[in-house]
């Protein structure tokens, strides 16, 4: 992506939501904008409609748990298929009670992506039509991709990993 394209995107965002932007960076040619979590849906809707951006394709979304910050980041990746621009939007939510509005009003594709994010991180998407677990069993009580849950059962005694420090 050229510099001018990136400037166009940030200018479009600045028109209305300048106060929402926390950080703009380019990570491996990928424009990444961190915004405040309150108005994320409005920001995405703005970028969806704005003639200079038209991000009308949701590539993927996922969450990341940062135990040191005690925060969960929700990452949206948008794509404009016509001009072939990509944009990554990030919001940070408190890890204890992550709540954010649903994106299914803009993209129907967000339905299962949000269910997956809820399933693994416990992020509650308010207004989601059917927010329940999708890949894990329904009576699971933890959110397994959070960092506090280790991969293997720590009480196991039949495996000795001291040599290789896994």
């Amino acid at each position: 992506m050229e510099i001018s394209e990136q400037e166009k995107i940030t200018a479009a965002l600045n028109e209305k939501y300048e106060d929402q932007i926390l950080r703009i960076e380019t990570l491996y040619d990928f424009l990444t904008i961190t915004v405040k979590s309150e108005k994320i849906i409005e920001v995405i809707q703005h970028l969806y409609k704005h003639p200079h951006t038209k991000f009308q394709f949701l590539t993927t979304m996922c969450a990341v748990h940062y135990p040191d910050l005690n925060q969960i980041a929700v990452v949206y990746q948008l794509h404009n298929l016509v001009s072939n621009n990509r944009l990554r939007l990030k919001i940070y939510l408190p890890a204890e009670n992550p709540v954010t509005p649903t994106l299914t009003t803009v993209f129907p594709a967000a339905n299962w992506m949000e269910r997956e994010t809820y399933d693994f991180y416990g992020v509650t998407f308010t207004g989601h039509p059917q927010l329940k677990r999708i890949l894990n069993v329904e009576d699971m009580i933890i959110f397994p991709l959070r960092k506090e849950y280790p991969l293997e059962d720590q009480t196991r005694e039949d495996k000795n990993d001291t040599m290789f420090g896994r």
Binding site: C62, V64, Q77, P108, M113, I134
Partner: protein
């Protein structure tokens, strides 16, 4: 109400009776472990409720505890019909993070392997569409060629289905003369077989009546559901990662993106047919233009050194130990890389915190994203159309459930 009075129905328009049908989880016609609870009005589907996750294996969690080169076998098991694309996509993600310059020969060899994988993926999907419409002949016929592709994989990397092909930085060895001979045999035989398969189905009146206007989706709907790959192209959107964001020198090859118009089963079938021809032409171009050079890049921290060097060279021994024990630190970074998989844009979103394992690895799995449109696509259609729609969407259980 008095005792002798006849009971009059207060609500004459009594609610219609629906029957519920459990399709799956292990139904021979669904080609994988999918469950759909169908609300049926006679043979018409009113509502469908898919349940997924039967073979969920926690790949994203597993990846957080594995060194980078040990994540490749995990990617095999996503879309296991085209495992080399997944492997090479992952290698390229790590190479992007490390900033490695990949030799031209490696890129061309990768193109050959990936296009072979795409052909084998499309063979499965199209042959199975034939089977579900009652034409078993083409299936048996095409699967001989798929077997030949698997023999080529065997010559290249030693495995057939879960290939684990290549390494970060290149290939473990250059293609052997036997592998080249098999590839030449494939290039010679496959067009004849594919043409015969095309003659069998493409203009077959029974097949066309069965598949046209069955399980269709409009381009707008397909985009809003984030369709990618042949399913999106069948709806008429010419988005292909190989052209939009060329990787491994795809910009140096001459090929077209076939698109459909209705997005129905027939269009998806035809798009895949044409893509097989295009892939074949890409393989031929890659062989014709194949540059000389090394078959691996200079990334000693990740590329396992040859055994002779390990025994005779101290540095090689150290690198060998570090790679095998997974003790190589990776720079901090956040990278997204996507390749055109067999059924759509396969993306890797990788966050590294500088450790030996990824901090977070998210797979953008195309069929997980487009399978959620399935209930909408089969609403109002017959049960047998639902089976056909699913097989034409090329939903792979391993990729769906991660």
């Amino acid at each position: 109400m008095q005792a002798n009075q006849p009971v009059i129905d207060q609500n004459p328009k009594e609610e219609k009776q629906y029957s519920y049908l459990n399709l799956g989880p292990t139904h021979p016609a669904t080609h994988g472990i999918f469950q759909n609870v169908l609300k049926m009005d006679g043979e018409i589907i009113v509502e469908a409720e898919p349940t997924i996750g039967y073979i969920h294996r926690a790949f994203e969690k597993l990846a957080e505890r594995r060194p980078y080169n040990q994540i490749t076998p995990i990617t095999d098991r996503l879309n296991y019909c085209s495992a080399p694309i997944n492997n090479i996509g992952w290698h390229m993600t790590v190479e992007k993070l490390l900033g490695v310059e990949i030799p031209k020969r490696v890129q061309y060899l990768r193109v050959i392997v990936m296009e072979l994988a795409r052909i084998s993926d499309h063979i499965i999907c199209n042959a199975v569409i034939g089977v579900d419409t009652g034409a078993l002949t083409g299936f048996v016929y095409l699967f001989q060629q798929r077997e030949l592709i698997y023999e080529i994989y065997e010559e290249i990397c030693g495995a057939r289905l879960t290939t684990n092909v290549g390494r970060i930085g290149g290939f473990e060895r250059d293609f052997s003369p036997k592998a080249w001979a098999k590839i030449d045999q494939f290039i010679k035989e496959f067009p004849l077989v594919l043409q015969e398969f095309a003659n069998l189905l493409e203009r077959n009146r029974i097949f066309m009546d069965r598949t046209i206007k069955c399980g269709g989706i409009t381009a707008e709907k397909a985009l809003s559901y984030s369709f990618t790959g042949p399913n999106l192209r069948a709806a008429g959107v010419d988005y292909d990662v190989r052209v939009a964001n060329p990787y491994t020198s795809y910009d140096e090859f001459d090929f077209v993106i076939p698109v459909g118009t209705n997005g129905d089963v027939y269009d998806r079938f035809m798009v895949r047919q044409e893509e097989m021809w295009q892939s074949l032409s890409i393989i031929k171009q890659a062989i014709a233009k194949l540059p000389e050079g090394p078959h691996y890049a200079k990334v000693p921290e990740f590329y396992l050194p040859p055994k002779e060097e390990v025994y005779n060279n101290m540095e090689a021994l150290i690198y060998h130990f570090k790679i095998v024990m997974g003790e190589t630190d990776v720079p901090v970074g956040e990278v997204y890389h996507s390749v055109e998989g067999g059924n759509g844009e396969l993306g890797y979103y990788l966050i590294s915190d500088g450790g030996r394992t990824p901090f977070r690895l998210h797979f953008r799995r195309p069929c997980f994203i487009y399978y959620q449109a399935y209930p909408e696509m089969i609403k109002g259609s017959m049960l047998s159309d639902a089976i056909l729609t699913m097989s034409s969407m090329n939903v792979i259980a391993g990729e769906l459930d991660a």
